[in-house]
Symmetry: C2
Subunit: 553 residues, 2 copies
């Protein structure tokens, strides 16, 4: 494998650990925990893993336990830092006992089912320290959700003498980790399960998990690009750039990038949903800002758009649901030849409200809603080019607006894959390494059904606190795909939280003025304030928290 | 203006100058020059600026001349480093004589015509050192090409006591700079004109200009993103990523990024043109590689596509020309309702050869060719989504290929605006600063009709050689828009050059294996091999040159 000069230099980086973990540690056991909601139901579903105490590690006596054979699984979409979770896990296991072994299951949860794994030895782990991607063992999206599968996993673990699993994933995968932990405990098979909080979307966080790993790096990559584009916009002075960003279930990425780059407009889906804003209303608001800037001679700007936007607009959500039904029940639609005929057939079948929305959509978007369907016959929302839709509709709106004297030319962008596998920032490199390290300590302490956590991450790493939180503590009941299930609560953008409030207090100024910030590329070797800063979201959240109450575990 | 931590840290960077420029310099005059071709005609067109000698600067006696009032113009598309050309120019002017002044014309050549400028003093220049973008004074694409305009420029310069202009631009703008220099000399108005070689596309280079500025940085940004996407492809193992890159007239960017990242496929337009490859042939070749990788279980990959590809395919070029004529002469086309009818009308009017090509195109692409037309009725080639076209056609091809057992899912990307205004790499920061510095020295030496150059740029900056090359020396006659004009020869990818040959020798291996390199983001503070390396293209070109003959001026 040929390595770039940066890869070579970066492979020498030694991630910072919380000071409390640098020597041997002892376990501090806190109070028994409760789930965030639906306590009775969650307790009934997880009799063996409910109510466990929060635990933290502090410098102390080192207690060597049995020899640990640990399997690690990367689950779901890639996030920067996954390889450092593995290197932290590896280093801690070897520090605890040289005979401890780490195995990596190949291709995500499938590896557990197929008994497909490799031994992760020093050579392999060294090759991947501080690199991006999940390519060391690959990832996958398979869900292990029936007893036959649980038993298969047990069989494979026992066959290979594996006594603990570390599952690195988002809210779904960690919920799944807890289900496995519960089942293993019920069956008394002696296999522990520890989770690690991963997702660039940033929507796996709560009182215990300050941030999910990868969010910091991905947002830094996107912000680099947004900054570059803003510099271009402000130099050429002739384009509006509509930039869609990953984040289907929540808009943390858009909010973080907005705080970092100060664009003219950033849409936050959670706000759209709360105030039931229609597409037309959003288009109108963008058009107003375009006009205002045009009046000052500034025919350029930037708009950040979260990927999941259309699903947060109640009217579009309703329209999509109706379209799914109509197209399933009217196969004659596909025989019609002209667009006009097709739209007429659909319009007739829609409710009055949805028909109105539908008639306001440009042809291209209307087609995306009716053409691209997944195997279940549903609209593939992720394929909807919201950024182009907004450009088309704003163009249309301004063309009809005789008071608009400016120019409106737009470019569209979508950033997602550019950031998911970036090499981790120092923050994510340190954070992930510490999470992996902590996961090993939790296993060594005999814990199961826990998620590794690192707190105080807005401060420098010497003050970080490491520990474990019972996964059941983060759960509530939610209806998903028609069933009520115990799941980890997704963290949407808190419209009363400091990050959003700061954004809201400034966005009017950002809209009319050109207040762009240019963050530039992630740096690894420079001054601390350039290389080590955590996300704006984290800093602002902690700022408000510090005002309310001191951070304790 | 709020600055990011990196902007603040980076503003302290002191660009490296060629050692020969660090103290006072004297001018070394070389032999009289000749143009690269059409010597007689170019000489007739440029009687006052033809045949001037190549000049270089060496340590020596400092000769103070008259007080210099210099105007600088940024022309055409943005390129990283423009601000450093200005800071180099400023610092050299002030070093020569504290009374020298620098003025920046606003919004490109328009500023010269409108007499719109600002004084660039220390405060302003300091604000923009080592930053990306052209926003210090803006840029523009206006061409100054008739005598009335030349006279307007003279009037404005004389009015403001400006005795020299520095024009920062690509081949067109520098040709224009030379036309102005010639006219000013003919009119004996005492206004000098010096050019600087700018373009991220890398197609302004020759024996004297080793590289155009901005190319290095832009390619590094694109390569960062391609590397990240490749890491994602290799982790998720489920997508082929089709990545279009800027570069309409030449494929240097695609070639450089390929050398940096080792993708599975990189298309070089110049090769397509030379071997008259059709779209179908290209699609067939991509499909073959997809199949080969699928047979090894690798249903993922990357394809780099230069923006100008379709214009290099003779058959598509011919088709586009015919379509332009047909649509201009058959307005009834626009009254037809169905796609089928439209395609039938066009097919009938096309030549047999073009009809065959047209019938092979997917609907979406056929529509782009016939719908989006510029004000002159021509297809807007830059809006053609070649990356999507190739995905559609490869999908189609594989669907019909019963021997294909793999999966083919693709994502498309286009990178352009992400890199044009990035903050310059150390190479571009140093190179641009030195170019600006040299431009001031050329003015001080009384030169006009020259382009500033820096040679030996593949070596460390202490060995760089600074000088000026007569712009006429790079000219030949070409037919452009129906007229034969003197222009600076565009440098296409040399199919016999070392960069392409190295690429060609490796691409078979890159296609079937997964040989990705992950360059990561531009670094400013780390080890030299990470921060200071010039482009692969430059290194490989110089490598072959060194084998043939030593570099001399």
């Amino acid at each position: 494998m040929i390595k770039s000069p940066l890869q070579k230099a970066r492979s020498q980086y030694i991630p910072k650990l919380p000071q409390s973990l640098e020597e041997s540690v002892s376990l501090i056991t806190g109070e028994a925990s409760e789930s965030v909601a639906d306590q009775k139901a969650i307790k009934d579903m997880f009799p063996h893993t409910y109510g466990l105490p929060l635990v933290t590690f502090a410098p102390g006596e080192f207690s060597e336990n049995q020899i640990l054979n640990v399997g690690v699984v990367l689950s779901g979409g890639q996030a920067p830092g996954g390889h450092n979770v593995i290197s932290g896990l590896f280093d801690a296991l070897k520090k605890l006992n040289k005979k401890n072994q780490l195995y990596g299951f190949i291709g995500g949860p499938d590896g557990l089912l197929n008994n497909s794994f490799i031994e992760l030895d020093e050579d392999i782990v060294d090759e991947y320290r501080n690199t991006g991607g999940f390519d060391i063992i690959g990832s996958g999206r398979t869900k292990i959700e029936d007893e036959a599968s649980y038993d298969l996993v047990i069989g494979n673990c026992l066959k290979n003498d594996i006594n603990a699993l570390v599952i690195v994933g988002g809210d779904d995968s960690n919920t799944n980790a807890c289900v496995l932990a519960e089942y293993f405990k019920e069956k008394n098979v002696g296999i522990q399960v520890i989770g690690c909080p991963k997702t660039i979307d940033g929507d796996l966080k709560n009182d215990f998990i300050e941030t999910s790993f990868g969010f910091d790096t991905a947002c830094k990559v996107y912000s680099e690009l947004i900054g570059n584009i803003q510099r271009d916009a402000n130099s050429a002075k002739k384009y509006w750039h509509f930039i869609k960003l990953m984040g289907r279930s929540a808009s943390h990425i858009s909010l973080e990038c907005a705080l970092k780059t100060q664009p003219n407009i950033a849409i936050i889906s959670e706000e759209i949903e709360k105030y039931k804003l229609t597409l037309n209303k959003i288009v109108g608001q963008i058009a107003e800002i375009v006009k205002k800037r045009a009046n000052k001679g500034e025919n350029f700007g930037t708009v950040l758009i979260p990927e999941g936007l259309v699903e947060f607009m109640p009217s579009i959500k309703k329209l999509i649901a109706e379209l799914n039904d109509i197209l399933a029940s009217k196969p004659e639609y596909y025989l019609l030849k002209t667009n006009q005929e097709k739209r007429a057939l659909i319009t007739e079948a829609l409710s009055e409200e949805s028909a109105k929305v539908y008639s306001s959509l440009p042809d291209s978007f209307a087609k995306q809603l009716t053409f691209d369907r997944d195997p279940h016959g549903n609209v593939q929302v992720s394929k909807i080019e919201t950024e182009k839709l907004l450009i088309d509709m704003v163009t249309d709106r301004l063309a009809k607006d005789q008071s608009f004297q400016g120019k409106f030319n737009a470019q569209n962008h979508f950033f997602g894959y550019e950031g998911r596998c970036a090499a981790p920032s120092n923050f994510d490199a340190d954070y992930c390494y510490s999470l992996g390290y902590t996961a090993a300590l939790l296993i060594n302490a005999g814990k199961t059904g826990y998620m590794a956590f690192i707190k105080n991450t807005a401060q420098s790493s010497e003050n970080w606190i490491a520990g474990g939180v019972p996964i059941t503590m983060m759960m509530n009941l939610e209806r998903r795909n028609g069933y009520v299930k115990p799941v980890i609560q997704k963290a949407l953008v808190d419209l009363k939280g400091n990050p959003f409030l700061v954004f809201r207090s400034k966005r009017k100024e950002w809209a009319s003025n050109t207040s762009y910030i240019y963050p530039g590329p992630i740096q690894y070797f420079g001054p601390g304030e350039v290389c080590d800063a955590p996300s704006e979201t984290l800093l602002l959240e902690k700022e408000s928290l510090l005002q309310e109450e001191p951070v304790t575990v």
